[in-house]
């Protein structure tokens, strides 16, 4: 009897893939980057089970994708990483017949994203944002006065200001392209320049203010801004809004604001794409199509405070968010935003090497 049970069990295990009633989609997304009920809604509507996993850096995602057989069906890399991964053959082209909701997308933004993925063949914009300044309103005012230059990179990149802010804590993202390109924009250089001399100048500027920087890290500042541990961060727009929200709900009296400085800031897109070796490409398309529903995208924006590229969702986005120029920049600011570029291995190495010098003084 027992033997029989084991036999039938193993038979059913073997038969599982053939009989699989329930489809699965393995999603690998950024941490804190989806509405609380999005997955439940998708499962209820399609009957496809979601295995949801998160990462907090593009590098970790990329290493997995380059190693191959990651097992994921949908991943959300940032634009410049995506471009290189496409060149490495990591993704499969999207089957647009399975994505009717593409019609909801904002044409202009999709056009901008096509700089990384020609013809939008492999990817759809999930959310987008800028790399700007998150700051503690009171702490900055206390140190730089009422007319503190919160709308300019000089608040951090001018050593005189940085010195005054050092005691309450300045932080930078550990993202070499973002910070180096921003420094070049502040210096009036072309932020897309690949000239070694331009990069050297940016590094020299950063080295000047380096003594006043508390730390260089890409996620720690969210918590630290919120609880007043640090007061000025070069950070991702949405992350700063999360910090502002946390500070408000904690009721500690810390007020966090975000600004896109007048010298310009980096604009980036997080893109949904399907790895070439995804085990469930059909379910992956269903997931991407579901996210592009206006009400679903609006849910996510309302929850994570990142701008979406879904034109049809805009009327469902809370007015407060829709009209916030820090999230959806005004046309004038939008004109000043610059993209990131894909560098060849050599330029990439120069950039990282200079960045290591900034980080460590070596």
């Amino acid at each position: 009897m027992k033997k029989l049970a084991i036999l039938s069990l193993s038979a059913s295990v073997l038969a599982l893939p053939a009989l699989a009633q329930q489809q699965v989609v393995n999603v690998y997304n950024w941490s804190d980057y989806i509405a609380e009920d999005t997955i439940a809604k998708f499962e209820a509507e399609t009957g496809i089970r979601v295995v949801y996993d998160v990462y907090d850096s593009n590098e970790v995602l990329e290493a997995r994708l380059l190693a191959g057989s990651s097992g994921y069906d949908v991943v959300v890399p940032t634009s410049q990483y995506l471009a290189r991964q496409i060149a490495a053959g990591v993704y499969q082209p999207l089957n647009k017949d399975l994505l009717p909701n593409l019609a909801n997308m904002d044409e202009e933004l999709m056009q901008a994203a096509a700089a990384y993925d020609p013809g939008n063949e492999h990817s759809v914009i999930y959310m987008w944002g800028t790399t700007g300044i998150g700051y503690n309103v009171d702490a900055v005012r206390e140190r730089l006065g009422e007319d503190a230059p919160t709308d300019s990179w000089s608040m951090i990149f001018d050593p005189a200001n940085a010195e005054k802010l050092a005691d309450c804590g300045i932080t930078m993202l550990d993202a070499p392209p973002d910070i180096m390109q921003t420094a070049m924009a502040y210096l009036g250089l072309d932020p897309l320049s690949q000239e070694e001399s331009d990069l050297e100048q940016a590094a020299a500027l950063l080295e000047q203010i380096r003594p006043y920087i508390r730390y260089i890290h890409s996620s720690q500042y969210i918590t630290d801004l919120a609880n007043g541990e640090v007061c000025v961060s070069i950070g991702y727009s949405g992350d700063v809004f999360i910090a502002a929200d946390r500070a408000e709900s904690a009721g500690t009296g810390v007020e966090i604001d975000y600004s896109v400085p007048v010298e310009g800031a980096m604009q980036w897109f997080d893109m949904m794409a399907i790895p070439a070796d995804a085990p469930n490409p059909e379910a992956a398309h269903a997931f991407i199509n579901f996210i592009m529903k206006p009400e679903i995208t609006a849910d996510i924006t309302n929850y994570v405070y990142y701008a979406n590229a879904n034109a049809a969702s805009m009327e469902l986005v809370e007015e407060e968010i829709r009209n916030d120029p820090a999230i959806f920049p005004t046309p004038e600011v939008q004109a000043k935003l610059f993209p990131t570029i894909t560098r060849d291995a050599r330029a990439e190495r120069t950039l990282t090497r200079l960045w290591t010098r900034v980080r460590t003084g070596q």
Binding site: S57, E59, V60, E62, A63, L65, L66, A67, G68, R84, A87, A88, G89, V90, D167, G169, D174, P176, I213, R214, Y215, I216, H217, N227, G228, E229, A345, E348, R349, T352, R353, W355, T356, R359, T360, G361, Q362
Partner: protein, 307 residues
């Protein structure tokens, strides 16, 4: 029973295997599968060239039907040699590991000594207390230190409320925090071998020293310390060796200028996505680490010979 055994033995004998060889084979196969083969794979990647592909390096062996070409690229190693960054990171890592191991020894020795000299029920209790922290995740314990060390953390808040300091002392994101993290995490690895050694210490030797007029301090330096040398070296190695390659602790507690070799490796692999150079760093680290480890091993062997 015996018949069956004889049959198996003769069967093994025909294959040229003895029971003893089988026993030795288990760890050998283990080392082969989990150490030697991965090492060779990493060594192979370290000699290839980086490219944008999946996986992101060119194959060593090219085969175009009739002709096989072997492309060995030693540039990655030349690169490590020419940029002082790698040497500096290595030296800094060795320094951090050495200081941490020394601190762990200074703290761990009295603890191990006390435990070894304690009467039985208390001894077991104390030993359990040393091992107990392992029951919670190492990562959580390092995170907990963030809570202690941050500017508005437990330590600073206590000192401020006691009126000892006015402004918080910056402790997190400094080398100081890294030392605390490493010493705290690896302390049991120092205490346990020291304890194992000290517990065997023969009381009659201490009595003999006292009878000959040796005062406690002299007895400690001339009897206890030399006898516990193997334990000291074993404990030192168990802390020193893993601390050199430590990545998590400096990442969570250290500042941006805490440049340990583990971080350099991470940079090469993740930020530059240069797997060949990353592999070269790993191989070079292994080779260079062998030197201090061999020195410690021979010191240990000498200490044991003396006994």
């Amino acid at each position: 029973m015996t018949g069956a055994r004889r049959v198996t033995e003769s069967a093994l004998g025909r294959l040229g295997l003895s029971g003893r060889a089988l026993v030795v084979a288990v760890p050998l196969v283990w080392l082969l599968v989990f150490f030697l083969i991965p090492f060779l794979v990493v060594a192979k990647i370290s000699l290839s060239e980086v490219t944008i592909a999946r996986p992101p390096y060119l194959p060593l062996l090219e085969w175009d039907g009739l002709r096989a070409t072997l492309n060995l690229n030693f540039e990655n190693y030349a690169y490590l040699w020419n940029d002082p960054l790698y040497g500096n990171a290595y030296l800094f890592s060795v320094r951090v590991a050495f200081v941490s191991a020394t601190l762990a020894l200074l703290i761990g020795f009295p603890m191990a000594y006390y435990i070894a000299r304690s009467p039985e029920p208390r001894r077991t209790l104390l030993l359990t207390a040393v091992i107990l922290p392992f029951w919670t995740s190492f990562l959580l314990r390092v995170y907990a230190w963030q809570g202690f060390l941050r500017s508005n953390g437990v330590i600073n808040n206590t000192l401020i409320s006691l009126g000892i300091i006015d402004t918080p002392i910056v402790m997190l994101q400094t080398d100081f925090a890294v030392y605390i993290g490493i010493v705290y995490t690896y302390l049991p690895f120092m205490i346990l071998p020291l304890y194992a050694n000290l517990v065997k210490l023969d009381d009659s030797l201490l009595e003999a020293s006292a009878d000959l007029g040796g005062r406690p301090v002299a007895t400690f330096f001339y009897v206890t310390l030399p006898l516990s040398m193997p334990g000291i070296i074993a404990g030192f190695m168990l802390v020193f060796v893993p601390a050199i390659g430590e990545f998590v602790i400096p990442e969570l507690l250290g500042g941006p200028n805490t440049l340990m070799i583990g971080r350099v490796l991470w940079n090469e692999f993740f930020a530059n996505r240069d797997w060949p150079v990353a592999s070269a760093v790993a191989i070079a680290m292994l080779v260079v680490l062998v030197v201090p480890i061999m020195a410690l091993r021979s010191a240990q062997a000498r200490a044991e010979e003396k006994r």
